[in-house]
């Protein structure tokens, strides 16, 4: 397990605090930004580790936001996991508590309706971007491009057309990976 100097750990914590307030539509919409920070800018982890963190969190039970502490864990062990999780949750949680107490009774005013309506397409665009960036390391590797593409398309079709629980698709992915198809 790698460990980071305290100053870097503090910077990671601050960075995730900031991302928290931007994570409209879920923590997954900040994944491209985390990738930029952890992989491209700081070089604390590589592409494969980044995608592994997300795959682990998807495979394990619980909210998908748990990919965030796994990223922290891979960078700096348990301290990193704590910094990442508390960072990504604290501001959004306090804000949500405040807003939900302030009341949902203003939901029908034009200003609030415009807020939902205006942000919705941006959120959808961000989720597409996340899926795109996550599939790149698999689709970008020529040796396994076809297998990965087939798996991704099959997953999408199954999700859209059936009510099968994702755990079964992830199991199929694991088997395909063990057999060397991906």
């Amino acid at each position: 397990m790698t460990s980071l100097p305290l100053a870097d750990l503090a910077e990671l914590f601050l960075r995730f605090l900031m991302l928290s307030l931007l994570s409209i539509g879920g923590a997954m919409s900040t994944a491209p930004e985390m990738h930029r920070y952890l992989v491209v800018d700081r070089g604390w982890m590589n592409d494969a580790d980044f995608t592994t963190a997300i795959a682990l969190a998807q495979a394990a039970p619980g909210p998908n936001v748990l990919f965030v502490p796994v990223l922290g864990f891979q960078v700096a062990g348990v301290a990193g996991a704590a910094a990442a999780l508390i960072g990504i949750l604290l501001p959004s949680t306090l804000l949500s508590l405040g807003v939900s107490r302030w009341g949902s009774r203003r939901r029908d005013t034009p200003g609030v309706r415009a807020f939902t309506a205006g942000l919705a397409p941006v959120t959808v665009g961000l989720v597409f971007a996340t899926g795109w960036l996550l599939s790149l390391p698999f689709v970008g590797e020529p040796a396994h491009r076809l297998g990965a593409l087939a798996l991704i398309v099959a997953t999408m079709a199954t999700t859209l057309k059936t009510r099968l629980a994702p755990i079964w698709m992830i199991a199929v992915g694991a088997v395909a990976g063990i057999l060397g198809w991906v």
Binding site: S20, L22, I24, G25, G26, S29, P32, T51, A53, A55, L56, Q58, P61, G62, P63, L66, P69, V70, F73, L89, S92, T93, L97, S100, P110, A114, T116, A117, G118, A120, P121, V124, G125, L126, V127, F128, A129, T130, G131, W132, L133, F138, A148, L151, I152, V153, T155, M156, T159, L160, P166, I167, I170, G173, A174, V175, G177, I178, L179, V182
Partner: protein, 195 residues
Amino acid sequence: MNSAAQARLSPRSPFDLFIAFTVLALQGFGGVLAVAQRELVDRRRWMTREEFVDAYSVAQLLPGPNVVNLSLMLGDRFFGWRGALAAVGGMLFAPLVLVLVLAASYNQLASFPAVAGALRGMGAVASGLILAMALKMLGTLRRNPLGPWLCALLGLTTLVAVTVFRVPLAWVVIGLGLAGWCLARWCIARQDGGQ
């Protein structure tokens, strides 16, 4: 809310909430939302179906993981901040321990090609699940007051800004979000005026 309160039951204590959310979270492979709906609404009757939908739309609008925000609101309603803490703690604690144990053993197991292969396959499926979720979210835009062309413009600009130009998320959300808000205000005003 008053008529709904009759059919609604309540957790006995914050600890009761913590246990309920732990049980719920541990069942949630690949997403907790569907399990949350079944446990909280159908089985425990702590929320009505309508309350669940309302809470989820607010949770979706706010930054932060939707299911965490949802737990927070439900816990807060019953026991104030203690309930909020219990619900969020239950949602996160057990799955967190589990996923960190997995991550730690992965670092030791990664030398086995089968494990590395399995995770590559799981990663590809994970990216497919997210793309499918994005496609499903497209459907919710159908009733958006912005209309299809402005929605497509905003969504595609976001996609290109993030994937091609790697614009930092803050600028995307602030810049395009503000543009979306102004456009939506204009569209809503025009529709309300036109009726």
